[in-house]
Symmetry: C2
Subunit: 340 residues, 2 copies
């Protein structure tokens, strides 16, 4: 049974097991610093589909199917699937996963979706509600760009604070610890975030909008669990990018919490910022999903990383809310992963 610890943290006493995971990415991501870690890199980012939206759906479907295959499981072995994405009405998830015939619970946490789905799935497994559960998400540069910003053909200039939406999908499969005693990676705690809104309105500077949410959730977790940054090998935010990462370290620094020595950000990792011309870094649900579901979980399995805090950050705005002059409320959800 999950145990509430402090005000916002759920301790997972059984340490639900990571049974499998997969990351599927596009060409630019495959050419990035973590290219060799992904399960699948598509040089044609249409994936042969007739629209960017259909391509994104297919990436999500591939991520689940590869994760199932790697863990010798079938779709019917999964009790429920938690999935979401950035597209209006989460159509990447719906259309990508409908053929799997698994009870489907659509999630919306913007770029925090990988952490949100993983957190809820872990509580379902911990509580015995699900024997096995899947957490999935995706984003696609081209489907996101035309929905949130401009048609690609317009060739709009990007500001230095802008982040590049990753073309990527990731999936993690979880199962009960008692059924999988040999699984190397488990989940130890979850902290779900409250919405933070510091009044930032610049939709081209999401990092700054999301940093306060990440700081709040991390502070909640450290307080609830009576722990400190140096107890972890890695505090992995996703995706604050360059601006947001500096801001997060600064906010926490003022509170006397120094995460710098162990902090990294998926948005800073997925691309070579200079060579790949992505300005403040990567973003999109698929960015943190791809980094977590490749290099990070692989390094945990290989014993290079032991205790990892994965903090997904999401900007909960829409083009409509921005056009109506609203600020950008943000949220951050934290998952504590451990490797034995």
């Amino acid at each position: 049974m999950p145990q509430k610890k402090g005000k916002y943290t759920f301790e997972l006493t059984t340490t639900p097991a990571v049974l499998g995971y997969a990351a599927v990415v596009g060409k630019k991501e495959g050419e990035g610093p973590y290219g060799k870690y992904y399960d699948q890199c598509h040089n044609d980012t249409t994936l042969g589909e007739s629209s960017w939206e259909k391509a994104e759906s297919r990436m999500q479907n591939e991520a689940v199917n590869i994760a199932l295959r790697k863990s010798n499981l079938k779709n019917t072995d999964i009790d429920c699937i938690f999935a979401g994405d950035l597209l209006n009405q989460c159509i990447s998830s719906t259309f990508g996963l409908k053929s799997l015939d698994i009870p489907f619970l659509g999630q919306f946490g913007a770029c925090s979706t990988m952490a949100q789905t993983l957190g809820i799935a872990s509580l379902f497994v911990e509580s015995g509600a699900a024997g096995r559960a899947a957490a999935v998400t995706s984003s696609h540069f081209c489907s996101a760009e035309r929905q949130y910003r401009f048609p690609l053909e317009y060739g709009g200039q990007r500001t230095p604070t802008a982040q590049w939406t990753a073309t990527a999908a990731g999936c993690v499969l979880l199962g009960k610890r008692q059924d999988n005693p040999g699984a190397k990676i488990g989940l130890k705690a979850v902290t779900f975030g409250r919405i933070a809104d510091f009044g930032i309105k610049d939709a081209n500077n999401m990092g700054a909008a999301m940093a306060p949410a990440a700081a709040q959730t991390l502070m909640d977790f450290f307080k609830d669990s009576e722990s400190s940054p140096q107890e972890f090998d890695l505090i992995l935010t996703g995706d604050l990018g360059f601006i947001g990462s500096e801001l997060l370290e600064e906010i926490l620094g003022k509170e006397g919490i120094d995460i710098k020595p162990v902090h990294n950000d998926c948005g800073m990792m997925i691309y070579d910022r200079e060579k790949q011309d992505v300005h403040a870094g990567g973003s999109g649900c698929g960015c943190s999903a791809a980094i977590l579901c490749s290099a990070i979980l692989q390094q945990m399995e290989q014993g290079q990383l032991h205790n990892v805090l994965f903090v997904g950050t999401g900007a909960l705005m829409s083009p409509t809310s921005s056009q109506q002059g609203e600020s950008i409320p943000s949220v951050a959800h934290l998952v504590y992963l451990t490797a034995t």
Copy 2:
């Protein structure tokens, strides 16, 4: 601890308690057959706000605050809030609930959102993860119409199969049974649906698209729980409307399951179809939320209804997917409510 029963149903052995609930609606809904049951009816459906989207956010905020007040609880008493709506990136929920400062988990189940949020919240409470949890949703005719169909000013004609998106919000607060032994209403089981897609492409006939999903989830539940329709006082779908309701009864009839004597549909209840000129009935996340969180829960508390199956149905499409020629995948989630 939740117990898996059959393949898709979770039995809630502690029967999590309904601590409070509230429904807030617009003018047309207040003038409908259930007008007297709602907590708040707004004659000005802008609620004095500068946009329909902000009005919808405010309805959601009011629903939560009224439910809290009615159950003598404060926002800080709630461990997490599950909320979603129809607007792109679920902005009604985000902006409506950000001031509450409660850990926020955005959900997307289209018009099934009330059942989805209630189902997940009940599992969180049952498992002990949350001491108290809130389930919330909303829709607004004007914000939905301009997002999904046409600007209101265009005055587009509606087809006979079209449903009218309700201007409404609903909230249910749940708590542990052991802490609330006197609570009259509890949740006994949850069945999360798989996505059903029968190839229907007419976005003005959502009822037909969603009926197969409702039939599938109901059949899953009856099979898993070894029960039959006559064991329930009410099987309440939301929102299939006139066409979808007939279709659901027909599909189940062919399987030898007769729900007709106990079946009603929130989309058929919320308006007077003839006098209020709503064609096939009501729809929108707020429709089933408002009916459940007013008349139904009140009648359960007063002993008029004992065993109710609440089946939220959602059409998981977007204008983009429809414009790309895709069909309308649907989902239905079931919650079994009981009154003592």
